[in-house]
Symmetry: C2
């Protein structure tokens, strides 16, 4: 089902490339132009069928019905500013960044039909080499429209994600940033600190538990530094909540209070069980 | 290859049951008796082929060449005390608990040929329903002999784990407890605290990152409370190291020091990469 005619994807990495492949696979757009800071990525994206054509400059957005900003969080607003005057009336512009308040506030002011999107389909792997057309299937996509976004643009963006098999959840940009601070950014910060605290000489004895709990710390440092800075206040406050919980666990352990300890672990274990029940 | 004749496994849960199944599969013992606090578990263990016979009382160890203590950490010493007088001369007794110093010190005093073992094959799943004969294949098993353990007993225990496809690493009991505090117990404590700090209403938006990083918090609360208490001092000090790393990350974020932040994340990411290089 075609939702947009001509699409331009700026940033052909894991999310941008996978989105291109998925849109083409489901024939949801008629043609995709792709741009990458690194031309070799764009060439690979074309070869692997993630895009139809390589865009030679940002001017390619002039004809677009849909523009996808799929570059790192700290570069999205710069590109939004550059394309704001180029896009035609009615063009829908979305981003797929991991934070929304800064981006949607500013890009929504520059571009009439801007819809912030955050497909919860990320991975510690990045780049065109890891793209897969099915990463959106069964995943949640949070959409955060700007105040001025037209209803029609919003429903087409929603149709796009649903067409790729995602569940769409609508939140305000500040709500989004608060939620993902807890569900994604805090776990990443904790995982980075966790692997940092394991002495090198013990790494060879790390088994499944250590591997699982630190998997996301293999993520790209530059990408995550910019996500952390972009959602700083929410992340700092979610980490304070985490530190309080850990302090409680330590206190129970220090006091050798087995009953309190078991109660704390038991609640956590039950809560973790609920996470698997959400079968998006 | 037969390593022991008659074996008794006390505790037919995930590790005990899987060990029975693996030993029978490779014909490494001639006959296995199994005991469980809960008779139904022992019946299931027999039905699924993890044991040959159900032991009716601890007296069954009298004829054994190998006894495996595979019950929760806080029950191992009680059982060791009960069987110490019953086992025949030359019988090798091992445990498979997650901590070693307390257990090996005391059980090694009571039983001449005691070898502490810790197969790093655990899981957040437990019980006879989850046993798999291949959980030891490609895994590490840490062995921690007591001071009085005979060489022959040690080499037969080592042969047993190697026969199941494990790499055997020998550590002293205190070394073991210090290492696993960092590689297993600290990550578990952090995962329990992490899931505890996510507001319930946000759980439905938890994606792969949150799931991976908290998977081990679905582990059994009672088992883990006893592991934590048994390795209390090491865990408290590993958690202090972790808290320092997290405080550093927070400071960089609070100061908006993108360069410092990226450096910290980058080192962590490289270190996490090394974890996958260890292909046991």
């Amino acid at each position: 089902m075609k939702v947009f005619d001509k699409a331009v994807i700026i940033g052909t990495g894991l999310i941008g490339g996978s989105l291109g492949k998925a849109l083409k696979d489901r024939r949801m757009v008629s043609c995709i132009y792709g741009l990458s800071r690194n031309r070799r990525n764009a060439v690979t994206a074309k070869k692997t069928g993630a895009i139809d054509q390589i865009g030679e400059s940002l001017d390619v957005v002039k004809e677009a019905d849909l523009v996808v900003l799929a570059t790192p969080v700290d570069t999205i607003l710069g590109i939004a500013a550059k394309i704001a005057k180029k896009v035609k009336k009615g063009c829908v512009v979305i981003d797929v960044g991991s934070t929304k308040e800064e981006i949607v506030n500013e890009a929504g002011r520059l571009i009439p039909n801007f819809v912030g999107c955050h497909p919860l389909s990320g991975s510690e792997k990045r780049g065109i080499a890891n793209i897969r057309k099915d990463i959106f299937k069964g995943a949640v996509c949070i959409i955060t429209p700007a105040p001025g976004t037209k209803k029609d643009a919003l429903s087409r963006v929603s149709a796009l994600w649903k067409g790729l098999g995602s569940s769409v959840v609508r939140l305000s940009p500040p709500e989004h940033d608060r939620v993902v601070a807890f569900t994604s950014h805090m776990p990443h910060a904790v995982a980075f600190a966790l692997i940092s605290s394991v002495p090198d000489r013990f790494l060879s004895l790390g088994a499944g538990g250590l591997k699982d709990s630190t998997r996301i710390s293999a993520s790209d440092a530059g990408l995550w530094a910019s996500i952390f800075l972009s959602n700083r206040a929410n992340i700092l406050s979610s980490l304070s909540v985490f530190q309080d919980k850990l302090a409680f666990l330590k206190l129970a352990l220090r006091k050798k209070d087995g009953k309190l300890l078991k109660k704390f672990l038991s609640r956590a274990s039950v809560k973790r069980g609920k996470l698997d029940d959400h079968s998006y």
